[in-house]
């Protein structure tokens, strides 16, 4: 896994992409897209995070186990968020709690 040495030009390319994305997300946040604001902001953040992980953290060149570990971590975070929100979002449904 670490044997694979990533050439610096890939790092610079990823770097510029990240800077551009940062500028975009800050700029877009001033437009009123209603609920879409959050979706776009999180989408860009997720994209930036994936770029950092794949290239800076060498996940692209790592054995599949690394990807499984990351996917597991994100899935467990999703469990925590989803099942807790399943309570908060359905509180008002039954006429009386």
């Amino acid at each position: 896994m670490a044997q694979h040495v990533v050439p610096p030009k890939i790092y610079f390319a990823v770097f510029t992409a990240l800077i551009v994305l940062t500028a975009t997300t800050t700029a877009i946040s001033f437009l009123d897209l209603g609920p879409w604001n959050t979706v776009v902001a999180l989408g860009i953040a997720f994209l930036k995070a994936t770029l950092v992980a794949l290239f800076f953290m060498h996940v692209k060149y790592s054995p599949p186990l690394t990807r499984i570990v990351i996917a597991g971590g994100l899935f467990w975070l999703a469990i925590l968020l989803a099942l807790t929100l399943s309570d908060f979002l359905t509180r008002g449904w039954l006429a009386v709690s």
Binding site: G92, L94, A95, V96, S97
Partner: protein, 332 residues
Amino acid sequence: MDQGFPLFPQQASSMAPRVDNLYFYLLAVSFFFATLIALSVIYFAIRYRRRSESETPPGVEGSLKLEVAWTVIPLLITLTFFFWGTKLFFAMNRPPTDALEISIVGKQWMWKIQHADGQREINELHVPVGRAVRLTMTSEDVIHDFFVPAFRMKKDVVPGRYATAWFEATRPGRYHVFCAQYCGTKHSAMTGWVEVMDPLAFQNWLAGGTGSESLASAGAKLFALHACNTCHRPDSLARGPNLEGLFGKTVKLQDGRTLVADENYIRESIVAPNAKLVAGFQPIMPTFQGLISEEGLLQLVAYIKSLSKAGPSPAGIPPPVKESAPEREAPK
């Protein structure tokens, strides 16, 4: 009630037999599986006990059919528990509409109870037999839990919101009330009694009460005292939403959400007015957090609810509480 030591709780509410039937079903299935496993383990342990150290039993790999069987069968059985349990749970969480309204305020280490007609009790709850009773409960400090084992009824009483529970007593008598959520030093002293009386005896008890004014009329007084009517008024000068007919109506909020105005919404709008701002109104209402006690909030909520049940009755005179003839109902 103190004869020897009981091994099973009394069934004193319409829900009790239904819960116990499910409990016995669960007991039966568990007993079956527990004995099945215990007997087979004991039988194998004796039948195949080690007779000599050099004994080498045959290797047995396993069997897919058996594995699938003892995965699917327990799953199907547990699903029956799930559906029956859920049916009961929904019944427990849907109080009948004509229930007698009683509000309870849990406070570190006592239960303060208020009847719709104004009677106040500490750690004592008098109810008529055969009549559904709906409890609207909140807490002044930490989480408590109103638990009546004989009714199989329990509900956490969380500060900052209303918890609702209901029961229909089916047998006169005195039954324990426990606080079932740890709440501090005298948690185990925060107990009380539910006194289930015949309807006639209950009426006499009601009449003999301290005769203080009803919840709704006390609420009307508070409504005037805090000058709520300067903004909440039916005419054009109103700067706050009109409260008549509010209870049970769907309200459209500033941020687009809509919700049904229930007790929790009314209470929150008094304590934190801008949490759920009504569309078309300015956030100018001050918070009354700490200015009005929990009892006062219950009285205000009762008053606002009374505004919507019987239409615009002049403030102060509560509409007569509908007294349905409490015929002896066979416990459901």
